[in-house]
Amino acid sequence: MADVAVARVGELPPGASRVVRSGRIEVGVFNVGGRYYALPNVCAHQFGPLCEGPVTGTLICTVETDWKLAWVREGSIVVCPWHSLEYDITTGRCLAYPGIKLRQYPVRVEGEQIIVSV
């Protein structure tokens, strides 16, 4: 595994993301509510540049919401810019296909530097 510098802490506020590269591997690093996460920049569908997509929320509609639409998880969903498949940044799970879970790369902070291990 190689350590890759992502950004200074202040440069990646909650809701922000940044794609970094290590060799041929591209990884998206996200700040969700003050915690950092990293996913491969490759959608499991047609291999689109997932982490270049918008960070947003999503909609649910369950018995708990009385079968009404509710907007939830703002800032923790990334949407692939190619075909709009959604992923939970904090788990790597694809919302459309429960069997798909992307690998997660460890992210840490050393001093003021955010570092991802790729």
Binding site: Q46, F47, T56, G57, L59, V79, P81, H83
Partner: protein, 373 residues
Amino acid sequence: MTGQPAAADTRTKLRDVLIVDVDVHIDDHPAALAPYCDMPWRRSLELQGTLPQRYLSAAGYSPQLGLDPPFPGGLNARHTSTAAQMREELDALSIDVGIVFPDHLMLMAQLPRADYAAALARAYNRWLLERWLTVEPSLYGALVAAPQDPEGAAREIERYASHPNVVAVYLPTSAVYPLWGHRKYDPIYAAAEAAGLPVMLHSVSAVFPAFPFNLEQFDTALARHTISHTFAMMANMISMVTTGVPVRFPRLKIAFTEAGISWVPFMMWRLDKEYNEMRREVPFLEDRPSRYVRQMYFATQPVEEPENPRHLTATIDVIGDDHVLFASDWPHHDFDHPRQVFDLPLPLETKRRIMGENALRLFNIPVPTRAKT
């Protein structure tokens, strides 16, 4: 390909295969077309060009009921506005050659004024040649034929047929009324057949009292989009076969786009079944309807993604791998990367046909010398 498939190729790379994409879209913004439009409609486009545009929805230009709000977290619209931009984007997708279709004018069949619709088609065709086909030699185009003015469309075909990068005639299919089998369109077919240009049907979702109709009953774009393009293709294919278009114009090539391919075996078998009982209604058909369908061409996008890809290769086998054409639909939201088709478990010769060779033959395009970058 017949019978059991030959060994699937897994070694050849996408970049090593010629890729012809039979459906890419260019941004026919009214402000872009205005300078190419005859008066008085140039004034109209100049005004239309100052109005805010939604994705494939502009009142009086690409009319839609526009039932859906911008959906929270929903689709993002992409546009390709110059030939250089298109070339760059196709390079990134490993595509060598693109066949260009409009964006907004896909909805033009709904426009009630024939003189306006014909002026839009003429403006588009001029703009297509001047800003796209003569700028980037790896782009080829389909002339827009306004269904509202078949004689005018036939003149457009005659005017541009000799241009080497004009390779097809686009039949706007969304909500066309009457359907494309009607005898009123014969001048278009006669001109296209004489010019050796295939006609290509391409629809788009719209709520309108014509095929694909009654879509307003669905409250999601998912539901409407599931059937809109496909129903439009099915309705027009049935119309063309049962009025005898392929019989009256035996050398006319007919291609269907943006409906996937899994509807085609259904149509072949369904039409044949009905033909058993009701042949006397269509005595001009000299054989079962599927024999005529088998002569038509089908673009892959949005290509089906079954859990077992062999189910899709079996579908290709029914249609015939010499009549299936790769299409991406770039830059639209539901485009397919060429890999989605290329990676199907098929022998290399079949992949080469579908990804490019069939299209070169159908559109009479010379093998491109330009290597993709």
